[in-house]
């Protein structure tokens, strides 16, 4: 029974993962990826990792929401009103993906897998807590520093005001073809920059 459910969820995860690259709408793509994570979280719950499983869904729901925002913000044709295809080196990629999947799959099937299942009565959340505060304390605090660095980096990279003025000074969009017309933009002459400054 558990095997069947795990297999179904794994198949769902793979199918939704595949849909990510097949749908036209960016919103659907991000939430398709989220469904893939939800299925993985479900497998976690089945395999007596309730905390990791549910927390995966929680974290990924939030992250995919942000993903959807950025997808819609920066992708041409975000809602998939026209057919969507922005791929390069397509054949090589399919080959590489297939090769990786097959090689890993073969390794799984051919190698003897150890069997040492987690005890069903173990309080895995408390174990994780003790691990965090005890032996892995340094990892935990290092993660804090890494996240701080991420926050600082994200703010510095994405905000406009730099030390040397606005970072978008004199920028021009590239064309879809080299030296082509700017993509996704009405052809217009010049168009000076307006700087009304910040707000608030």
């Amino acid at each position: 029974m558990t095997d069947l459910l795990v297999a179904l969820l794994a198949a769902f995860a793979v199918w939704t993962g595949w849909r990510v690259f097949r749908v036209d709408s960016m919103v659907r793509a991000s939430f398709s990826l989220m469904l893939s994570f939800v299925a993985v979280g479900g497998i976690g719950v089945l395999l007596s990792a309730p905390y990791i499983g549910i927390a995966t869904v929680f974290m990924m729901a939030v992250e995919m929401m942000v993903m959807a925002i950025f997808m819609v913000m920066f992708m041409m044709n975000p809602a998939g009103l026209n057919p969507m295809s922005m791929v390069h080196q397509h054949r090589i990629s399919i080959g590489a993906g297939l090769l990786a999947a097959l090689a890993l799959g073969a390794a799984v099937l051919l190698s003897p897998l150890p069997s040492n299942p987690v005890l069903s009565e173990a309080d895995v959340v408390a174990e994780l807590g003790h691990e965090l505060l005890g032996p892995s304390m340094l990892i935990f605090e290092t993660a804090g520093v890494a996240l701080l660095a991420t926050m600082l980096g994200a703010v510095i990279l994405s905000s406009r005001q730099g030390r040397f003025g606005n970072s978008d000074e004199g920028s021009r969009p590239p064309g879809l073809t080299p030296e082509g017309e700017p993509a996704g933009r009405k052809p217009e002459g010049g168009g000076g920059h307006h700087h009304h400054g910040g707000h608030g």
Partner: protein, 101 residues
């Protein structure tokens, strides 16, 4: 048996993720591929932890760290996309090549 199913699923996810990361022209879609690969890794970790390692707590910590890596990858990745878009008004990998002009 269960572990094999889980690991096969993980292998398929990593394969699809690799395809996406290599084939997509757009940064954002490329990141979807990376996330999918990490998803496969996460699935494998959960499987190993639960069925092969007897539930050692480090396994759970590793899963959390994978998620932290995803969060960091996303935050920095998107910040980079914003920065690149400001410069080039495009989010395609090709546009990075011409950034030096």
């Amino acid at each position: 048996m269960t572990l094999s199913i889980v690991l096969l699923g993980a292998a398929a996810l990593i394969g699809i993720g690799l395809y996406g990361a290599l084939s997509q022209q757009s940064f954002v879609m490329l990141m979807m591929g990376l996330e999918l690969m990490l998803n496969g890794a996460l699935l494998a970790i959960i499987g190993f932890w639960s069925l092969a390692l007897g539930g050692m707590p480090e396994g759970q910590l590793l899963a959390i760290l994978v998620m932290a890596v995803m969060a960091i990858e996303m935050a920095i990745g998107f910040a980079l996309i914003v920065a690149v878009y400001r410069k080039r008004q495009a989010d395609m990998t090709e546009s990075i090549g011409t950034l030096k002009q």
